[in-house]
Symmetry: C2
């Protein structure tokens, strides 16, 4: 297994990451980036012989220099002044909260949290201050017990010469370090570590005069650490991120952590003071994945995906109220709803209030009402309430009722996702209400559910008698166009929303969810309508199972693509405890058995399996989303009972191999894969669908 | 003359610039940059025939597309959908406050201020708000009187996909536009202009649905302007810059303009409301250079240099007090003192309070006391007060007493400039006191002058009797090294401070200045010491005139380089009104005639003249600073009486040609030239020494 993959080490809610692991200049300290920071990262130690240095291979040219200094061979001293450890000598121990590199006498461990954020309006400030601290921690241990000379170690980074300058920050308590402006920096409280700046790694390490460590023109900054002869010493670091002031437009917000931290120095001070606590929490995070039922491949993918999720999280403060944002990886769209619905299971486990927070902002600011048209028809039919694709992009909240993404007049990528986001609101809201047992919220939102029901009905057919439980009309927001789904860059098999079996099953699940909610809240007529629609949907879908044993991706139109996500929507009744509705012998037995037949038919090589055993979401497209695969694996195994090498071991191995392909290493966890290569949705938060595996 | 040179259009004190003029993707809206912004800038109009567009050539690929659409030739429509005007058709009218481009039916004029900033603590807020408004203005005029169809025109820019997103900002008064986050943006109050965003210029211009102008994922934003058939219409734009919150480290400051503007929208609103005033002030700025005695070459270089200066200016707000910073062009060092002393003449003309502001911060925060050593000796001799090279870099104020630049243990670039900065404080302080008639400030600072005198004496010789008026000892801050001068990357002829004739003449001027100040302020003994030192200096310098008719650059050491800046320091007694001291028959007649002889000897081809007539500051180095040339031209012509084609016409033509060399066009006005090519000090503020030409 290639160990040189980038992983995010991200504070919670700070939209930042110390990304490290990919060879060369591919990582670093990133604040509000859609990818790695492109810093040179320097982590190394003087050789036992002295006057030469070895480092982990995370800087430009590392590949060429990644060989062990040959002590017997007579070589040019300058050439070997700075080399990387031999790759074969380097070990990595990668987990959810810790990531440990070791080579020679050096060990470098990074600690980051992966836990729930207490509800800001209710939690005590002391806890919030720690959990939201925009820093990750690191320990650099040098074992000098086998060496009779003092040695120097270092940890630092180099960044381009634009932007704010590197500067040294210290306080009277001994905290010291350096930062680029106020944005990113490395701090320590170790007394024998000294910040040093210069034009390059060689200049800093060769500098004779400590006076000159103060040089500010260079783009390289290091913490220089003194290790006495014969001692083993550990240096502690806080890797900090900070952005003060108003950081968003459209709806002006600051970071929530700004309540507790007025500067990056404040962050460093708190992080170092809370070092032991943060380290223990990072170790505790590892335990989440230390379950027997998880294979190594699963554990690795979950750790990788959860880390990437946290790098996209951003807890903002708007008019003294929290706003929970998950940015969309490389694209940085904010709270993309079709990601929210997938991240739902993870967020419900970690911090259900965040789901409510997202839903409320969709309802209050990012909803709209449209008209509808039949294919090739005019927008003369009443539509109803729906929700935008996202809330903005790259720190800009778009205006109320509009996403950053959706365009009019299209039938493909960048068209509207009106129906899907309507379904997504219903499913998220139902799961939140059930999972959090938040009856006051549910009661307040019953009118929204009711509007959503009407909107669903209208999108099925304006004439009640003609409804089949499936979306048949497209939004007027597309003008003469057609709606798409979250699989926006796939072919029509998953790209078209109308009559799509993937959307239809999610719609069925939404009707089921509404039925229960209306029934339990004194709205029996609405419950009846919802149940009737669920039945119609089930009948329609099951009725399209053809003689070849599959349900075509687009039902009743000319498309016989076969898609795995036909089964995706089954996760919602399962999470909502509607076990009866999922039973072969239950009221929807025909649908369930049809989907089982479908799944069995399509999960074969040449159809929805790649040759390597990886899952191919559509038989007609070489474009597969790992987050959705994870989700469908859970449905197949846990709900439909297909637990086999094809749904588990072989698939997991293939998917891990995808993520470890050379082309993908830089982008940590990525979603959209063409033949296992990430072509889009890189550096992405959505893989936390894998949290469902803990339920098996 | 090549008209495609970048020029800065910069607000005052906002460290930003709309830089435009160099072909291709070489300009744009820059905030706190050391060079142009690398935006694609789109300024254009639909052709009279329609459905195709022509633009000014300020975007990538412009060179290839810069030909007129051939209406007769049958060509691929897509290929010609967007082309640049033919370069031969484009006209430019470049002045200090206005810069006007015209081509076909399009005229685009940029207006920027070039005037004094009223003293912030005393001026009324309304005036300050306007003068400090971080915006420049533009007018786009489309003459559609010869066309019977409505046409679209546009002005906008494209920037990379990192950083904050483009977003549309509008207010109820009709102000609207777009900005990247809060940083840079373009706004208008023209009712027939619409902001539009998209993936690229083609996508935006071809977009059929206005709904889609709201697309936020793209990096291109345009103001689309409707021009009715048969009409001539002018659209007004504010090109705005903004950075809120604390922007510096070390000494936390915000922009002074933040007192008046809480967002880039505020800036836009004020700029548009004050459009007429700002335009008239920009036109008034042109009049500064509309003097008969200025040649075209001079006027062009002055306008170019003054514009570059303003792009480097940054008025900050620290604890409710103004802090005037001039950043050092591409290097962005803050208030580099050896630039301050050259920019002095311009700042005294525009806003003398800024000079006082700089001096006070040098005295209070950026001064230190050292020890001294003779060459190869130890640092055992008392030194004295001096000042740091700069106050920081890239928005970081270095710690008190230290610059970002000066290193210990060197004899070349990045060594200390202790002696030069001491002299610079004295000269700036004397010129400020005299020019502003600020007796209270002078009285308060007499103790500083006195300390400076002692420091000058100690640097001459610890034994009074052995003093020769010239620096002989180097600072302990260099350890065993040696001090340098502002000509840091030149050879020792101008790079070494000790015994340097350039420093010696500036030192002589400093003694003269002190003599007068002490004499006029009841300190006759100090005046006498200063006068005695001035005499010794003059005797020493004049005594080194050798038989070949020149004073060697380093006096009494083995260096016979010949340098023009031997005469540089004469500017200070002239500005201080010490005409007698500059007379051949005056008390320093021997020095003056020696310098005349020297100058006459060196200003010859093969010595200090390039073949093209440009000035070569040192006979032994191909490295010439335009700012210093401008200053020495003034001294040669006005003070020493050498007014000839070599000192004026031929030189000016050569220097203008340097700035118009292909390699230099991108960097607007640059300082350090090797054979006329800018190798360093690009995009630089120092050329405002040319303001002295107005005194001829």
């Amino acid at each position: 297994m290639n160990k040189y993959f980038n992983a995010l080490h991200a504070p919670i809610g700070a939209h930042s990451s110390f990304t490290l692991g990919c060879l060369g200049k591919n990582g670093g300290l990133g604040l509000e980036l859609g990818g790695p920071a492109d810093d040179n990262v320097y982590i190394g130690v003087e050789t036992r012989q002295g006057n030469a240095y070895e480092a982990l291979p995370f800087y430009a040219g590392a590949e060429d220099e990644s060989r062990r200094y040959d002590h017997t061979k007579k070589t040019d001293a300058a050439q070997n002044f700075f080399t990387s450890f031999a790759q074969s000598e380097i070990k990595r121990d990668f987990a959810l909260g810790t990531d440990c590199w070791s080579a020679g006498d050096l060990t470098f461990t990074i600690y980051s949290l992966a836990e729930g954020v207490p509800e800001p309006d209710q939690a005590d400030a002391a806890t919030l201050k720690k959990v939201l601290c925009p820093a990750v921690m690191a320990e650099l241990t040098i074992d000098n017990t086998q060496c009779s000379q003092a040695r120097r170690a270092f940890f630092g980074y180099a960044n381009g010469r634009s932007g704010d300058a590197f500067n040294v920050i210290e306080d009277t308590d001994g905290m010291r370090g350096f930062a680029r402006g106020q944005a990113t920096g490395i701090f320590t409280d170790s007394k024998s570590a000294t910040p040093a700046m210069g034009f390059g790694i060689g200049n800093v390490l060769k500098e004779k005069h400590a006076f000159n460590y103060n040089f500010h023109l260079g783009g390289t900054a290091l913490m220089l650490c003194q290790v006495p002869a014969g001692k083993k010493v550990t240096f502690r670091f806080a890797i900090c991120f900070y952005r003060g002031g108003i950081v968003t437009t459209g709806m002006p917000c600051s970071y929530y952590y700004q309540r507790y931290y007025k500067s990056i120095g404040d962050v460093a001070k708190e992080a170092l003071a809370s070092f032991a606590w943060l380290k223990s929490r990072a170790k505790a995070a590892n335990r989440l994945l230390e379950r027997k039922q998880l294979s190594d491949d699963q554990r690795w993918m979950m750790a990788h995906a959860i880390r990437s999720y946290y790098g996209s999280t951003q807890l903002l403060d708007h008019k003294k109220k929290p706003v929970w944002i998950v940015n969309e990886g490389e694209y940085r769209m904010m709270n993309t709803f079709d990601l929210t619905v997938d991240q739902l299971f993870f967020e419900m486990k970690m911090n259900p209030w965040a789901v409510r927070n997202e839903l409320d902002l969709f309802t209050s600011r990012y909803s709209y009402t449209d008209m509808l048209h039949f294919r090739d028809g005019q927008n003369i039919h009443p539509g109803g309430l729906s929700f935008t694709h996202d809330m903005g992009v790259r720190n800009h909240f778009t205006k109320p009722g509009f996403s950053s993404y959706e365009l009019a007049g299209l039938t493909g990528c960048f068209s509207h996702m009106t129906h899907e986001q309507l379904v997504n609101w219903l499913l998220c809201a139902a799961v939140y209400a059930k999972g959090s047992d938040d009856q006051p919220w549910l009661t307040r939102n019953l009118p929204v559910f009711k509007k959503c029901l009407q909107s669903m009905l209208n999108r099925d057919n304006p004439i009640a008698a003609d409804r089949n439980g499936v979306m048949s009309l497209d939004s007027s927001r597309t003008l003469e166009g057609a709606e798409i789904t979250t699989y926006d860059s796939l072919d029509e098999s998953l790209g078209q929303a109308r009559n799509n079996v993937y959307i239809a099953v999610k719609g069925w699940a939404a009707y089921l969810a509404m039925e229960t909610i209306f029934a339990e809240n004194g709205m029996p007529k609405d419950a009846e309508v919802a149940r009737d629609q669920a039945r119609r949907a089930a009948t329609t879908i099951a009725g399209h199972l053809d003689s070849a044993g599959f349900i075509p991706a687009i039902m009743g139109e000319k498309c016989d693509s076969r898609i795995i996500p036909a089964i995706e929507g089954l996760v919602f009744p399962w999470v909502l405890g509607q076990k009866k509705q999922l039973a072969d012998a239950g009221p929807y037995g025909a649908l369930i058995t049809a989907l089982k037949t479908h799944f069995k038919t399509v999960l074969t090589k040449g159809t929805c399996l790649y040759d390597d055993g990886g899952w191919k979401l559509s038989s007609t497209a070489d474009n597969s989303w790992l987050s959705k695969i994870y989700l469908c694996q859970f449905v197949a195994r846990k709900i439909l009972g297909f637990d086999s090498p094809e749904t588990r071991k072989h698939a997991d191995a293939a998917h891990r191999n995808w993520l470890l392909k050379d082309e993908n290493l830089r982008f940590a966890w990525s979603d959209q894969m063409s033949s296992g290569v990430a072509k889009g949705s890189k550096y992405y938060p959505r893989g936390v669908t894998s949290i469902l595996w803990l339920e098996e």
